[in-house]
Amino acid sequence: MSTTASAAGSTGETRAYRDYGRPLWRRVLLSREAAVIALLILVWIVGYTQVPHFAAPITLTFLLQDMAPVLLIALPMTLIIITGEIDLSVASVMGLSSALIGILTQQGWAFGAAFLVALIVGLVAGLVNGVLVTVVGLPSLAVTIGTLALYRGIAQGLLGSKAITDFPSEWTSLATGNIPGTPLPIVTVLIVVLALVFGLLLHFTPFGRGVYAIGLSADAAAFSGVRITRTKIILFALAGLVSAVAGAYYTLRFGSARGDNATGLELSVVAAVLLGGVSIFGGRGALPGVLAGALLIGAIASALRLAGITSDVINVVTGVLLVLSVVIAGLLGKLRFRRLRIVKS
């Protein structure tokens, strides 16, 4: 922002916009997203050359299968966090979707019909979050911690401790099979399509610019004509919808519908989004970084598991990485802020 201010020669500028004073290639190369992508490539190279069996193409299959729900939900979550809100109920919506699909197919419904109901319920669950946050005006952290418990409670109430299994193989093979001739699971297609949709929405439409504007300053956005309430409701509804899709994928992949499916997954999603360079305070971040962040978490876990490292160590490594990324970003921001003040005085 300091350079923006000096380059534009305006003196009243205090907003922390991205540094447009540099050439594009430099901005892209030095962005937080680029750092995450570079780190992902680095981890991949180290894994490829140092960790036995990591080089096998099936590593990629397993990694994408494992990370698919996180990759999917991270898309709407990125937009929500950029507006300065958060949705912690996504994993519970997955569980609800899974339980609904289980109970409906058990009642004799066709899988497709049960899936459709789960999508609608997911959408409604998201809408409820959105309305409580915007119309009622409650903080999203509080609302979605509440609905996290609520949706999970309904899911577990529906199925109890039962697990419903035996889904039709033409559906389960969609979740477990690969695109013929590649090591890529079929769900990759869904991830790519949704990533393009959300990427275009965020980075190339007025709606997307509104999302950033809300995160930077809700008041300024409102004065500029951004429809904050509508934008946020749409984002929460999308999160519910995508979570329901992820819940269906999860159910099919493991062939098991349970109310406690995907418990705790919301934290992996938030971790991927933050690691990918999105500011938890809103207004900053980009989708490529988030996708790289999710893949980075998956790649590190995969490499460590193959190297025989235990799960607690894997959690520690992921945690340290996340803290480091936030700390470094924070320090850089502080330094820049200090310089800005020097410049202004």
Binding site: P52, I58, A163, T165, F254, I300, R305, V317, L335
Partner: protein, 344 residues
């Protein structure tokens, strides 16, 4: 000026992150595979418990390690931090990639790991479940800790012996609709009728596997049945709560208590004389047997079909029963003399 210093800071940041990752994956790589077993057989056997840091599985996996050392294989243990239904899948996948000889696991879900297990078996990895089974069609073998008949019988034997084979007894169960407990209680009733005519089962109460409820129900039993001579609690929560009540009451030593418990929960009450003996299986033996079953599968001595038999070190000869199940044997009885040997 400004952009330059910002840039160098950013580069420094990237470098720190990168070197951290390099360091972590670097040390990971160095502690990686130690190669396959000694001989031509792939005796790399990995235990995959429901979750790590669980004293029960620490004991069972230690039993497995002992067995694997005996036949000079390579023991390893991996597992998730939390026992969620899907958590084991990525570990099974990893072990498939590493081409271990066998996976010995206690399944968190009947169905969720099946697809991954199928892939593992397609790749030549043997899969043995113990403690908690998957669907019978997805694994090679299940090592069953005890049968319902065995569990019912040991409890009847213990309580009738302790009360001198005559008098009133009662049962403190888990929830009223608990499948396992109800099956055991039915078998116990039949055994009592047939073999212990002087012992009368006067009441069955339900503590819902809740410590406080079980505690209160124990107090209620003792008030409503003044001639009660013994209580059987076929659930670990129930027996511990009943023991806690008895140990501080005037009934201590007068009313006998037995059932299914874990040494850690019961140690105090066995030491102070509230409880003479109680039963469960020995998880160490369970892991030991599972490891030998995995070896027999790797050797090709057995395929997991009914009637196959194999030798399990010190435990002797075992036969594969219906649905690829191997039974560990009669439940294990814990008392003052042996409880010190168990840490779960």
């Amino acid at each position: 000026m400004l952009p330059t210093s910002t840039r160098s800071l950013r580069i420094a940041g990237v470098a720190v992150l990168a070197s951290a990752a390099l360091l972590l994956t670097g040390c990971a790589a160095s502690t990686g595979d130690s190669g396959s077993g000694d001989g031509s057989k792939n005796y790399q056997i990995t235990f995959l418990p429901k979750n790590l840091g669980n004293a029960y599985f620490d004991t069972s996996d230690a039993g497995g390690e002992k067995a694997i050392k005996e036949f000079k294989g390579t023991y390893a243990e991996v597992g998730p931090a939390k026992a969620s239904p899907d958590a084991q899948v990525s570990y099974i996948n990893t072990l498939t990639q590493k081409q271990v000889g066998a996976i010995v696991m206690s399944a968190n879900d009947q169905k969720a790991p099946c697809d991954a297990i199928k892939q593992a078996r397609d790749a030549g990895v043997k899969v043995v479940t113990f403690d908690s089974d998957t669907s019978a069609d997805c694994r090679d073998l299940f090592i069953n800790q005890a049968t319902a008949e065995g569990i019912a019988k040991v409890q009847v034997d213990l309580i009738t012996k302790e009360i001198g084979d005559s008098g009133e007894i009662a049962v403190l169960s888990a929830a009223a609709n608990a499948t396992n407990q109800n099956a055991w209680i039915d078998l116990m009733k039949k055994d009592l009728e047939a073999n212990h005519p002087n012992v009368k089962l006067v009441d069955v109460v339900y503590g819902d596997d809740d410590d406080q409820t079980s505690f209160d129900k124990t107090a209620g039993l003792l008030q409503s049945h003044p001639n009660l001579k013994g209580i059987v609690s076929p659930t670990t929560v129930g027996i511990a709560a009943a023991a806690r009540y008895l140990s501080t009451s005037s009934f201590k030593g007068q009313v006998k208590l037995t059932g299914l418990g874990t040494p850690n929960q019961m140690r105090e009450y066995v030491t102070d004389g509230t409880v003479e003996e109680f039963a469960l299986w020995n998880p160490g033996d369970l892991g030991y047997l599972a490891a030998y079953a995995a070896k027999a599968l790797i050797d090709g001595d057995i395929t997991g079909k009914e009637g196959d038999s194999f030798k399990a070190g010190d435990l002797g000869e075992y036969k594969v029963g219906k649905d690829g199940t191997v039974l560990l044997g009669d439940p294990f009885v814990f008392n003052k003399d042996n409880i010190g040997d168990f840490k779960f």
